[in-house]
């Protein structure tokens, strides 16, 4: 892997639950993020997938320093951003920018597009001197595929897809190295999603950006990501290169998630084996002991309630090389092909782990 520009280790965010008005006492905590580690290399895209409430957006907020972690550290080029302040923190923030999910509420309706995209320069005046800003904003509009003459328009004059382009232009204004995109296309129509994804792809190579791409849509994450982390109840349960996760998943949650995604191909209806999970995600105030997925897992045994599975290459795969040997937090990890490739190929169980 290339040089890591972002290293996250042991990241935890607990929101306290309190009772009483005058003498607040803590009665519990919402464990939104409960120990997350990952690295991001320069120019790479790390996709984070998970269902609502798994903590993926809280991770995003901590990365851009909108939330303070309860524990753990986020290192940008070696510096723990939680320990920085003043000028040093400002320069880190300049380099980690965010694109938000909802292009309707993340743009101030009373500001013109020029003011929205140019606002980062008010905070970081060193990037563009006052006289240059208008021109810089027009360049940015051009880069994201909007007419530079629209600089004096207001957000309501644009469609959803165009607004998301404005959000991306704002994210790019300070020439950051990392962009954290939290569900950037989920509010858009299907035919417009592709335009925005292609734009993000193009900008990545043009500006050598690294992306953290957070989404619940597994197909989109696969399309854009080099590596993928699957989150469940505040933890990453499986992580690896995109093909390792999508074609050789070993964690039961990932397998269930993949099998639940509808594939736009009616012929696949019969071919696919679907795993339908029982029940709902447990509350993050009351996380199950041992493996947090065990309450919905069809493989769960006694051991799962007692021992917390670590995120590492499972013992079964430690001695084999191949796509199944990637980090998976499961005591009973085994490979199954859940998403059959276009033509059925026989390499599904080629790693000596018996039938899945």
């Amino acid at each position: 892997m290339a040089e890591a520009i972002l290293q996250v280790s042991g990241l935890v965010k607990h929101y306290p639950l309190t009772q009483g008005i005058l003498f607040k006492k803590q009665v519990g905590a919402v464990k939104a993020v409960d120990g997350v580690d990952f690295e991001l290399a320069r120019g790479e895209t790390l996709g984070i997938v998970g269902e609502s409430g798994c903590g993926k957006s809280t991770v995003a907020k901590m990365l851009v320093n909108l939330e303070k972690p309860t524990a753990g550290e986020i290192r940008y080029k070696g510096d723990d951003i939680g320990k920085l302040s003043g000028k040093a923190l400002r320069s880190v923030r300049r380099n980690i920018q965010m694109v938000f999910q909802d292009p309707y509420t993340s743009l101030n309706p009373r500001m013109t597009v020029g003011d929205i995209i140019g606002e980062p320069y008010e905070i970081h005046p060193e990037v563009a001197p006052k006289g240059d800003r208008r021109q810089k904003v027009q360049e940015l509009l051009d880069v994201v595929g909007l007419n530079p003459e629209y600089i004096n328009r207001y957000p309501h004059q644009f469609s959803g897809g165009q607004r998301q382009r404005i959000g991306i232009a704002r994210g790019l204004a300070l020439r950051p190295e990392i962009i954290v995109a939290d569900e950037p296309v989920s509010a858009l129509d299907v035919s417009v999603q592709a335009q925005v994804i292609n734009l993000m792809d193009r900008l990545q190579s043009e500006f050598e950006l690294s992306y953290i791409f957070i989404a619940h849509d597994l197909s989109i994450v696969r399309h854009i990501s080099d590596r993928v982390g699957v989150m469940y109840l505040g933890r990453i349960v499986e992580t690896g290169k995109d093909a390792e996760i999508y074609d050789h998943a070993t964690h039961p949650y990932t397998q269930a998630l993949l099998s639940a995604v509808p594939v736009p191909d009616p012929e696949a209806r019969e071919r696919r084996e679907r795993i339908i999970l029982a029940g709902d995600v447990p509350s993050p105030t009351n996380i199950p002991s041992g493996c947090r997925f065990r309450t919905r897992c069809w493989k769960a045994q006694e051991r799962c309630a007692l021992e917390v599975p670590l995120l590492a290459v499972p013992a079964e795969f430690r001695d084999v090389s191949g796509p199944a040997a990637h980090d998976s937090a499961c005591h009973f990890a085994e490979e199954t092909v859940v998403v059959p490739a276009e033509e059925t190929d026989a390499d599904g169980n080629g790693n000596g782990n018996g039938p899945g």
């Binding site: 269902e51 299907v190 035919s191 335009q195 999970l277 709902d280």
Partner: protein, 324 residues
């Protein structure tokens, strides 16, 4: 045919002008059959469904033409009190957002039971028993205890099950589900779609599934109608449409979605934006975004060409589209 919509036209009068939301839509569903109506926001897919159910906001909405034949009767000719008897009892609707469709100050048991009190004249006690029954049928655990709970005490998936239970209560012949799983997570979405499909088989109901998700359609539909700017641009059995689309819009949609089982390079993107309904382009509404557009597309509105017995395409160049 259980339900047949013929040449339906709906418009909305607004301060800024007339928005033509539905411009001559025809489709049909049989008992036990699933029709998926696919389209982006503003394509008129929900408005058509609301007109069928008779829950369109009038005004500003106005049905300006067409027929809605349900079990042989034209619903548009019925008086409102006759229409009310059809709604809920013979056709029912499931909405996207269960939390805002359920009444937050009534327990789910009261809301489910209300159906039986109003339509069947049951006593409150019997209605409560029926409510428990229904909740069990949609597999809500501990239904007897939970019947007294309020909507906010349920998870999103459970709420959507309650919506399904409510729609099924009077065993209607037709169910219209408007984006029933869009607000749900994928694993829960799979549970809910499964349940819906199973109940449909059990009761031999017709189902109209309104969605923008091509994946969900491929999973459950028998046939599809693709809508664009208030018209059906293509209708076909589900297997045909995914194999060879006969309209450039359908084709563009299929090519623009990333797939789980393939890692592609650049995605195909349909250029431009869906049209403003107050100002639909002349000729074919899709022409400004269409790679096949010729002069004729800018002047003549394409009729629904017969591609084969079960298949229609509203494109002058459907042959070219199918050939590559």
């Amino acid at each position: 045919m259980l339900l047949e919509v013929r040449d339906l036209q709906v418009e909305f009068r607004t301060r800024d002008g007339v928005a033509k939301a539905v411009n001559g839509v025809s489709y049909g569903v049989d008992a036990g059959e699933t029709l998926a109506v696919l389209g982006e926001s503003g394509s008129g897919k929900s408005v058509t469904a609301q007109a069928v159910m008779g829950i369109l906001d009038i005004p500003p909405g106005r049905i300006t033409g067409g027929e809605i034949l349900f079990q042989g009767r034209d619903l548009l000719k019925l008086k409102e009190d006759e229409r009310r008897k059809v709604r809920g009892a013979e056709m029912a609707m499931i909405f996207q957002d269960a939390l805002s469709s359920l009444n937050p100050v009534l327990s789910v048991g009261d809301q489910l039971g209300e159906m039986f009190v109003v339509h069947r004249g049951m006593s409150k006690k019997d209605a409560r028993a029926k409510a428990v029954d229904l909740m069990e049928r949609v597999r809500i655990p501990a239904a007897r205890e939970r019947v007294k709970d309020y909507p906010h005490q349920f998870s999103g998936g459970m709420r959507q099950r309650i919506m399904i239970a409510m729609a099924l209560a009077l065993e209607p012949a037709l169910i219209i589900a408007d984006e029933p799983t869009t607000a749900l997570d994928v694993t829960v979405q799979a549970q809910v779609m499964d349940l819906l499909a199973e109940l449909q088989r059990e009761y031999n109901m017709g189902l109209i599934l309104i969605t923008h998700d091509l994946g969900v359609v491929a999973d459950v539909a028998d046939k599809i109608a693709v809508m664009y700017a208030g018209r059906i641009v293509e209708s076909a059995p589900v297997h045909d449409i995914y194999k060879v689309p006969a309209h450039p819009y359908t084709k563009g949609l299929l090519e623009s979605i990333p797939r789980l089982d393939q890692k592609g390079q650049e995605l195909y993107a349909i250029k431009g934006l869906p049209p403003n309904l107050m100002n639909i382009p002349p000729g074919c509404a899709f022409n400004p975004r269409c790679p096949l557009a010729q002069d004729v597309c800018r002047t003549d509105e394409p009729p629904l060409h017969e591609v084969d017995e079960n298949r229609r395409s509203a494109c002058h160049f459907w042959r070219e589209c199918m050939n590559g």
